[in-house]
């Protein structure tokens, strides 16, 4: 063939010859205005996803026996990011020689975040949470990761009728979800079952009763007390049936493992699809071992090397925190991938049901230290703290 577009082929050739001079001229003809330092969409990304925030504790309020509400304001900016109700933040502090952090569900609403107010409900359980309950005072400063997590309503996945079931301290994300609904930011109708041992152990009664005026339906379920106006026992399928059509609802569960196991058994006969039931993740616990061995853990962070002890029943993340080595982490449940680290040597095991790694991570030797326990001396490479 002979391709040509103009009458004479040499005209086409001439055009080709001009490609470079044309581009050279266009590059030189660009504006000499200084290049932008930032861009609108990137600024929004920075507001919605600030990464780590500097915060100050502004108020501590008892909620129920063994549970407090901690309210924070941000020091590095004038507002917290707008988030999806149901999400958590990881609060990070230093207790003695240890760097510690824990994820907590946000109880305030996304709108309140814009007023530079973010509240967490913290139950007095575990090392850091216990310390927060007993020792934290207004004025104390912490680091906090941006709101994240997938435990929230999804418009295109979930039904309009959502059934939220809270066990004990698991009430926290539902406060935010109910508030967000009341503020018009969520399209769902929310029915909340809130289980506790006794009425005195119910947190946020006044808030929930006020939200009930704005469309929230709440059913309090007491296991150890029988009282008028309260359901008695556990949240059973029979109880759910009294209030809602189980088959057409989307479920959000937050509570202890025992509650999940109980509800799984209650809901099993309905054969609900996976998409209908969402569970909030919980922190990966220590293993229960008779006489845990202690190994040597070597950690590379950029060009620095740290050496420390690592107990067999504690996660690699815990070992690093005990030694004061800053290791990135958020969910502590194996799922968010933020602690993604390179395995270099040694044997390990991963907490059952918590291996949230990608397929290629397994192939090329990457792990999530927040759910991984050592079984020999180990060597890791961990990303620097941002």
């Amino acid at each position: 063939m002979k391709f040509k577009r103009q009458i004479f082929g040499f005209q086409d050739m001439l055009r080709f010859k001009k490609l470079v001079p044309n581009r050279r001229a266009a590059l030189a003809a660009g504006s000499d205005k200084p290049l932008p330092e930032t861009y609108r969409v990137n600024q929004q990304a920075g507001r919605l996803h600030p990464g780590v925030m500097e915060v100050e504790l502004t108020a501590v309020r008892p909620l129920a026996p063994g549970m407090k509400e901690l309210t924070f304001r941000r020091l590095d900016a004038g507002a917290f990011p707008f988030f999806r109700a149901g999400q958590y933040v990881s609060l990070q502090g230093r207790v003695g020689e240890s760097l510690v952090s824990r994820p907590y569900s946000i109880v305030s609403s996304p709108r309140q975040a814009l007023e530079n107010k973010l509240a967490l409900g913290v139950a007095d359980a575990g090392f850091f949470s216990g310390w927060l309950n007993r020792e934290a005072r207004p004025g104390d400063r912490f680091r906090m990761t941006e709101p994240s997590g997938e435990f929230h309503y999804e418009t295109l996945r979930d039904g309009r009728q959502i059934v939220c079931i809270a066990g004990g301290a698991g009430i926290t994300p539902f406060l935010s979800m109910a508030r967000s609904m009341a503020e018009g930011d969520e399209p769902y109708q929310m029915l909340l079952f809130y289980g506790a041992r006794t009425e005195a152990q119910l947190a946020f009664r006044a808030e929930l009763d006020a939200l009930a005026e704005k469309g929230l339906r709440v059913v309090y379920v007491l296991s150890d007390e029988t009282k008028a106006g309260f359901e008695h026992g556990f949240v059973t399928a029979e109880l759910l049936e009294k209030y809602v059509d189980i088959r057409t609802s989307s479920f959000f569960l937050c509570g202890p493992q025992a509650m999940y196991d109980f509800l799984d058994a209650q809901l099993a006969p309905y054969g609900l699809p996976r998409k209908a039931v969402h569970r909030d993740a919980s922190c990966c616990p220590n293993l229960r071992l008779e006489a845990p061995r202690v190994f040597r853990l070597t950690v590379h962070v950029r060009d620095q090397i740290f050496s420390m002890e690592a107990a067999e029943h504690e996660t690699l993340l815990t070992a690093m925190e005990r030694a004061g080595v800053p290791a990135p982490n958020r969910c502590r449940a194996g799922g968010c991938g933020y602690c993604h680290s390179k395995w270099l040597s040694g044997e390990f095991r991963i907490a059952e049901g918590r291996d949230g790694r990608r397929e290629a991570d397994r192939k090329f030797g990457w792990i999530h230290p927040c759910v991984t326990y050592p079984m020999s001396d180990m060597e890791l490479e961990v990303p620097a703290e941002k």
Partner: protein, 516 residues
């Protein structure tokens, strides 16, 4: 803040994306020391995957161009072979080229791989198209041969040799896709169907260089398209492992805030956000010149030509993707193809215009990965991802409080259009959903405005003059080269690997000259 200084490296690569990883391997293979600095906690840039429930989603790769089989390797497989990563990755072949649907003219065409099969299928859809299609592929073959020659002489082509051996390449070389197809007297319907791949390059066919498009199409049609089995994360980790094997280092969570230079062409160090100083004289940036010249490089070293050249260029598409994990199999849902292009209109210039605004953009390039790799998700499920681009910063008008709703609305529209055009009902089967907006892309890789396609390769800034000016462009700031989607080869997986390869090897050349 304590300013720690680390050891010196022969070269520092900023960004562990496709281009940066490739460049780093080239530097190390050349016998020089190299440190890769990555702001995120894993390698790959957009070449990654993420887990939701029982699904592992591919973040961005639709199909790898110019890969080919082990027996008939394309350039990218050969590149991977020479990088030493080909065998670290399990590869699978994509079954068909594409499934084009347009709303306006009601096209519903499934195009196969293989030149003969492609021409035959086109003749079925558009009787009388055969001659022009044969001419098209003949022209494309010449484009490919000319490019192979150009690569073999590192871009320093001999004009007389080119004229003698590749006259059609030169005569067609300055024209757009549509201008060339018009000269080939291709029937309009055949042109519409053939132009379906345009969204992969993000430029409408009135402005897209024929050489650019032709060289991509011929590679798809003759070499098929391929995928790594474990999503693109497998490629990224394989390249990462290769860097370690060669003695290189990668630091994660290590965003570069400054490139220090005593003056133009005299880089002294890069600085991390925490103040750490890393001495080096050579930088390969796997990020945009807008960021490098606008915020990273010492102000005193930024020259007027750099500013003018950077300002003259146009941002390409800002990305938007929807990821669905469905609780029924592709077969149950009636999803037959792997790779759909669904356009409002077959007129690419009109379509491009509609993509400027969020409201009027209904284009989607949609993949059902199970139709290439049934085992990619559990039995009885399937995975889909839908991608579009905005050709302006309209997305920036979304307020923070409307952000999640705006993502939902766009995702809802993508599902609506897919269901309407294919007749497959997927909405009720959504088990997992994730949405990435330009804001997500801006956050993830730091690209200005959430651009995923680098600079628009159109008109004066099209691929051919870019390639002919590699040397000249690098003179803008000696010691600094670019790799990845913002570099000379423009965006896309294969192009990013190639730009990483070029910039890596050229930096090795610079280093060798220095040693001498």
């Amino acid at each position: 803040m304590e300013k720690r200084t680390t050891r010196a490296y022969d070269a520092v690569v900023i960004g562990a994306g496709n281009g940066g990883l490739t460049a780093a391997i080239r530097i190390l293979q050349g016998g020089f020391s190299c440190l890769v600095l990555e702001k995120h906690n894993l390698p790959g840039g957009f070449a990654t995957s993420f887990r939701r429930g029982r699904f592992e989603f591919e973040a961005s790769l639709h199909e790898l161009n110019d890969f080919g089989s082990a027996q008939e390797p394309g350039e990218i497989r050969e590149l991977f072979r020479s990088l030493g990563v080909e065998d670290k990755i399990e590869w699978l072949r994509i079954p068909e080229a594409y499934h084009l649907i347009t709303t306006d003219k009601q096209y519903d065409c499934v195009m196969p791989f293989g030149v003969q099969a492609f021409i035959d299928r086109m003749e079925e859809y558009v009787p009388g198209s055969r001659k022009s299609m044969e001419a098209f592929f003949e022209l494309c073959e010449e484009v490919r041969a000319a490019q192979a020659y150009s690569s073999s002489v590192n871009g320093e082509t001999d004009a007389a040799y080119m004229k003698k051996n590749f006259p059609n390449f030169i005569r067609a070389g300055s024209y757009s896709v549509n201008e060339v197809l018009d000269s080939l007297k291709m029937p309009a319907r055949a042109r519409d169907i053939l132009n379906a791949y345009w969204c992969y390059l993000g430029v409408d066919c009135d402005r897209l260089s024929f050489l650019h498009y032709g060289s991509m199409v011929i590679r798809y049609i003759t070499r098929d398209a391929w995928m790594p089995k474990m999503r693109s994360h497998e490629i990224s980790l394989a390249l990462e492992e290769r860097i370690r094997e060669l003695g290189g280092e990668i630091w994660y969570h290590s965003p570069v805030s400054k490139i220090h230079a005593d003056g133009p062409g005299a880089i002294t160090a890069v600085e991390l956000a925490d103040g750490t100083q890393i001495p080096t004289r050579h930088v390969i940036a796997n990020c945009s010149p807008h960021l490098v010249f606008g915020t990273m490089l010492d102000k005193g070293a930024v020259t007027e030509p750099m500013v003018r050249a950077t300002n003259s260029r146009a941002f390409s598409g800002r990305g938007f993707s929807l990821f669905l994990g469905l609780n029924k199999s592709a077969q149950e849902l009636g999803i037959k193809s792997h790779n759909y292009f669904i356009y409002d209109t077959a007129d690419s210039a009109d379509q491009y215009d509609r993509m400027r605004r969020v409201e009027t953009n209904h284009v989607q390039a949609t993949v059902c990965l199970n139709n290439a790799f049934p085992g990619c998700s559990p039995e009885g499920t399937c995975m889909m991802y839908f991608t579009t681009m905005f050709m302006s910063d309209d997305w920036g008008n979304v307020a923070d409080t409307e952000y999640f709703k705006a993502k939902d609305r766009m995702a809802d529209d993508m599902i609506r259009v897919f269901e309407r055009e294919t007749g497959c009902r997927i909405r009720d089967s959504i088990e997992e959903i994730a949405v990435a907006s330009p804001t997500t892309y801006a956050r993830y890789c730091g690209h200005p405005q959430g651009v995923i396609y680098g600079y628009e390769a159109a008109e004066w800034d099209s691929l051919m003059p870019r390639m002919m000016m590699i040397k000249e462009d690098a003179q803008l700031f000696p010691g600094l080269r670019f790799a990845g989607g913002w570099a000379m080869r423009s965006s896309g997986y294969s192009s990013s690997y190639v730009s990483g390869d070029l910039s890596g090897r050229q930096t090795v050349g610079d280093l060798k000259r220095e040693v001498r």
